[in-house]
């Protein structure tokens, strides 16, 4: 997945400027001056142009083209594709594989978001305590974030195999009952993917929580301690509410990330066994590349895109991003 650590998309110029500024100047006898900077004029567009060309050229053109392809019955090669209107979309709604994929993504998303947030927060709090070797602990938790998902997938295919290192470790600590075929068992394959994702991405939640925990006003703790609050009480009543912004950021990036997840699913289980771990992304890939159903794949991609945009807009409103 791609992570987006920040959601401060608000514009600092929107009314939240510095109202004290002009008044202070007036107080010194100067006329209220309008700031002369920021007259970008037309040159400003030149600065923005490369980014626009790149993003519009690839992303918007891609979406537009995709939208057109989604109305075709096309194998991706035939020079005369047949237009079928909205048939592909109608087909999606009665496609049980689509609904199964959607529920897999939802289950996977809920598990990884909750666990990563809980673990990340727990680590941020505990590592802020008196820990010997804190920096090494931090590096261990963060290194998985930077590894190639392709490499992680190949590694975990081996580690989670029936005679792999995870089962070996479970036997070693006497938990033989927990050994499993993991990715080869339809009952545990989705959980196994969630575990891999949690292993790779908890470091991200941890780093964000760590930064925001360090910004909580120390006076709040002292005041609470004077009032006789214990550690648990402080965490529940002060730390967790103070980290609202970080919870929201992580929930939002987690939802987007779950919808985008492709590499590890495709490379670890390939959507199997059977269809037990099919995700929307892997289904799109299979339809486009293996089944030559470009039109249907494009329609699925449009549904995925609309889903991602809707969930993002809905959450941004719910969390009131850009309003504080």
């Amino acid at each position: 997945m791609t992570m987006s650590p920040t959601l401060d998309t608000s514009d600092p110029e929107d009314g939240t400027g510095t109202p004290g500024d002009s008044r202070a100047r007036r107080g010194h006898g100067h006329p209220p001056t309008r700031r002369p900077k920021r007259r970008g004029g037309r040159t400003a567009y030149l600065y923005v142009l490369p980014a626009l060309i790149l993003v519009v050229g690839v992303v918007y053109l891609g979406i537009g083209y995709n939208g057109w392809v989604s109305t075709l019955d096309w194998n991706g090669i035939d020079p005369n594709p047949e237009s079928v209107g909205f048939d592909n979309y109608v087909k999606i709604f009665s496609d049980s594989i689509f609904w199964d994929s959607l529920s897999h993504v939802a289950i996977f998303g809920v598990i990884v978001i909750l666990v990563q947030m809980a673990l990340g927060l727990a680590m941020a709090l505990i590592f802020s305590g008196p820990i010997f070797g804190r920096n090494i602990y931090k590096i261990i938790v963060f290194v998985p974030v930077i590894l190639s998902p392709a490499a992680v997938s190949i590694a975990f295919r081996q580690l989670l195999s029936p005679d792999g290192q995870v089962n070996e470790a479970l036997r070693f600590i006497g938990l033989d009952v927990l050994t499993n075929a993991w990715i080869a068992d339809p009952k545990t394959a989705l959980i196994a993917l969630a575990v891999i994702n949690i292993w790779q991405w908890t470091g991200f939640s941890f780093i964000l929580y760590q930064a925001s925990v360090s910004q909580i006003d120390q006076n709040l703790y002292e005041a609470a301690q004077i009032d006789g609050a214990g550690t648990w009480r402080i965490i529940r009543s002060i730390v967790i509410p103070q980290l609202k912004g970080t919870h929201a950021t992580l929930a939002l990036t987690g939802v987007i990330g779950a919808l985008k997840t492709f590499d590890i699913v495709f490379l670890v289980t390939g959507g199997g066994p059977g269809r037990s771990t099919e995700f929307l992304t892997t289904y799109i890939y299979k339809q486009a590349v293996q089944q030559f159903n470009s039109g249907y794949a494009a329609a699925l991609a449009m549904v995925l895109l609309v889903l991602a945009l809707t969930l993002t807009a809905f959450q941004m409103r719910a969390y009131r991003f850009g309003e504080d």
């Binding site: 050229g57 690839v58 680590m123 602990y137 998985p144 290192q165 780093i207 402080i234 494009a298």
Partner: protein, 263 residues
């Protein structure tokens, strides 16, 4: 945060922290351990380097990474500067239009990318990887850069203007030297995306001389049985440059990342 701590509490912290970290450490240790098993570390690692086009792939990965980093950095800083420090009509609209890219699952663009690459004749051309990769990465780097550059006081920009600097001169001589933490973040992030990418090179660079490092492990996979220790030696070699870069830039990286992420 928790006031004074006794020795017993110290011990509890240490134990809890260690228990939390072990599941994260275990796969890392296992990966390295497997890469040493079988015929032994020397034979495994030598095999990766000599039995695959390792250095060709390394060079290809390096070229693609350098191109991606350069493109992303240039595009991000130019646009980030304008969005943070210049005023123009449609600024907010254009910024949000680019941010939509944050939400986009790149797999949703696979069908059109395939067709566009074919139309432009970019198969087996590094640009077929660099351009899409940059396009899906720029929305995030731009958001981080814009937020960081907002923090540079306007007075600094004004002073440069009064001294007769053009806006481009201000960007190059004033803003960029003040942007080292965010520069580190953008470079590391772009490097990560380019170095770790698996599918774009697989799809668009089918000529074997143009393949990249993430393909190396496949050389030891076959239908007749895979050479697991050598696959893992390859994995370690693929990941090593990334890990080293992170360790070297760790301070900058975390500072910049959280500067953009936490208000």
């Amino acid at each position: 945060m928790f006031g004074r701590v006794s020795l017993r509490q110290r011990l509890v912290y240490q134990v809890v922290a260690t228990v939390l970290v072990i599941p994260f450490l275990f796969p890392l240790v296992a990966i390295v351990a497997i890469s040493f098993s079988g015929q032994g570390p020397l034979a495994n690692y030598t095999a990766v380097i000599t039995q695959t086009p390792f250095f060709t792939f390394l060079l290809n990965s390096a070229v693609i990474s350098a191109g991606t980093i350069a493109l992303i950095y240039a595009v991000t800083m130019l646009a980030g500067f304008a969005f943070a420090k210049l005023k123009f009509t449609g600024r907010k609209l254009l910024f949000n239009a680019i941010l939509v890219g944050l939400v986009l699952p790149s797999i949703a663009l696979m069908v059109p990318m395939f067709i566009i690459v074919r139309q432009l004749g970019l198969f087996n051309n590094f640009l077929a990887v660099i351009l899409p990769l940059s396009a899906v990465t720029v929305p995030l780097t731009l958001l981080l850069a814009r937020n960081y550059l907002n923090g540079i006081p306007d007075e600094v920009i004004e002073a440069a203007k009064i001294d007769g600097a053009t806006s481009f001169g201000t960007l190059v001589r004033i803003v960029i030297p003040l942007s080292r933490p965010i520069t580190a973040v953008i470079i590391v992030w772009a490097f990560l995306q380019a170095w770790n990418e698996f599918f774009l090179p697989l799809l668009f660079l089918q000529d074997q001389n143009l393949q990249v490092l993430t393909q190396v492990p496949q050389f030891f996979t076959s239908t007749y049985g895979s050479d697991v220790p050598k696959i893992f030696a390859a994995l370690v070699l693929v990941c090593l440059p990334i890990v080293i870069t992170y360790l070297l830039l760790q301070k900058f990286f975390e500072k910049g990342l959280t500067a953009g992420a936490v208000k």
